[in-house]
Symmetry: C2
Subunit: 346 residues, 2 copies
Amino acid sequence: MSEKNNKSTSRISEIKAKRKLEISVDDIINGIKSNDKTSIGKAITLVESNNINHQNAAQELIERCLSINTSSIRIGITGVPGVGKSTFIETLGTNLIALKKKVAVLAIDPTSIKNKGSILGDKTRMQQLSRNNNAFIRPSPAGESLGGVARKTREAIIICEAAGFDVVLIETVGVGQSEVAVHGMVDFFLVLKLSGAGDELQGIKRGILELADAVVINKADGAQISAANLAVKEFTRALHLYPPKENGWKTKVLSCSAFMNIGVDEIWNMIDTYIKGNTASGYLTKKRNQQNKYWLIQTIENRLLENFYENKKVKKELEKQLKIVSMGQTSPFKAAEKLLKLAKKT
Amino acid sequence: MSEKNNKSTSRISEIKAKRKLEISVDDIINGIKSNDKTSIGKAITLVESNNINHQNAAQELIERCLSINTSSIRIGITGVPGVGKSTFIETLGTNLIALKKKVAVLAIDPTSIKNKGSILGDKTRMQQLSRNNNAFIRPSPAGESLGGVARKTREAIIICEAAGFDVVLIETVGVGQSEVAVHGMVDFFLVLKLSGAGDELQGIKRGILELADAVVINKADGAQISAANLAVKEFTRALHLYPPKENGWKTKVLSCSAFMNIGVDEIWNMIDTYIKGNTASGYLTKKRNQQNKYWLIQTIENRLLENFYENKKVKKELEKQLKIVSMGQTSPFKAAEKLLKLAKKT
């Protein structure tokens, strides 16, 4: 009798737990469909969670979001600290909302990985935009590997698209590998720069010009206008040496003052022209398909390495083998074999 | 009776097989110790073999080679096809032999991975050197991944050092990722260049100047001398912008005519000075220790990925998932989970 009671109690709690989970994913999906900010926020928190139950729910949620037919424009924005990224996003976002578009802002911040902080943690950075009903701003998930942050941001994009945002802006700082990650998840990649003292190309990161669909010289106002014009010329000349991209696009160079809202509409017009042309040609669909494949491969490879390095026995033995190997007492290859065998067993 | 006979026959063949293997590794080691070319060649063939029995013997061989106390100088040499790498190595090698040094030449050729050919396959490229008793030339193992070729070259270096070669030259062509691999296994990294038409820096590969310990302008003879002098100036100026390396070394720029044997001795004197100074300071030991750690990590990561991608069931499912994912029908992350689970089971 008591056993039977126990059984039925546990059955009931099982059903309750299951229902609770089902209900909550359903609730969140319904909230997302009606562009409810709280639901969108909850959904992103779910994909950011490392709890195994949350992860299962998150996967269900993402699959259901993918089945919602929506279209959005994904724009990556990068630039070193101080270039005016938040002012630029604030102005561009506000202009887009005036054009009746809904705007989401996400971030990938490699510095947050080290500092467990976030470039977008402080919402006061985009005061006007964050108060607007048609905008959604989400800081970068902190304290994770770049692979983890990239995955979570990709899923946050899917959630924002299911919620009906027309434009998703993905911000990153111009340090580390995060630019490559952001470039691999957007339709258009924009690099913000400041004009300098005639040596514009001196400090530019290798490879970044190859990624850029547009270079924008910000803070082109007041005394800076002539320096900005010079920078536009220099970048145009430098970019002339690069071959056009796969779709025939030549990287554009423009200037603006995000603070004064001068030239930002022209930048949007350029992006809009790009998106329309490359949607018509089918190039954007092809690019997104390739990006999806890229993320499948990236996820697999990150996870294979994570599983290995997070194995506690492996961790301990690796420390030991690194010492032995560095002294030249055994070959790196034999030590690797030993560690791989250990990982397979445990 | 017949069973007993069978048993003892199999026992005998087991012992024979074991003895044969033991004897052959012993034989090879003895041959290596006396700098016997045939034994050195056999040893490298053993580490290049993908046969599992050979691999076990190869690991034993490498461990025994590591226990032989020798010292050598490892020099990496890179440059695009046509820059005169083989002529340079031929001249430098012949000069070194005149200084009573034994010289081994190995190669990492990323083009051989695609073409199953090899830059050093044709020994006629270094006719003088290949005929010399104090030289040993080995082409790049063909038809492998860069990771595989790099591992085998690293082990070939260990064999050459056990055989008492004083200088090991590792050649690679200036394309692909092989320069990073070679840089990670040498004491000194030399980049060969040709003088151009005043735009020396235009075509230089990103990052290559950061790897170089010296840039050498080859073919500085006849009508090319003034262009070569100009190139030396341009590279010196460009390198001036780079910070010095960890050991305080500023990348040197020299010119030579490998064909006429002009300036090659000066290059050797520079390398010799570098090696002596950095041996005395302990920097080279530290660098080799770091390189050993690097190769341990590289080997582990290559092998983890290889094991995954070479799993036949995974291969088939991956093809399927790539299609589904590229159409946006499932998330890359869910597909990755599925594939990782499959790999774990099989």
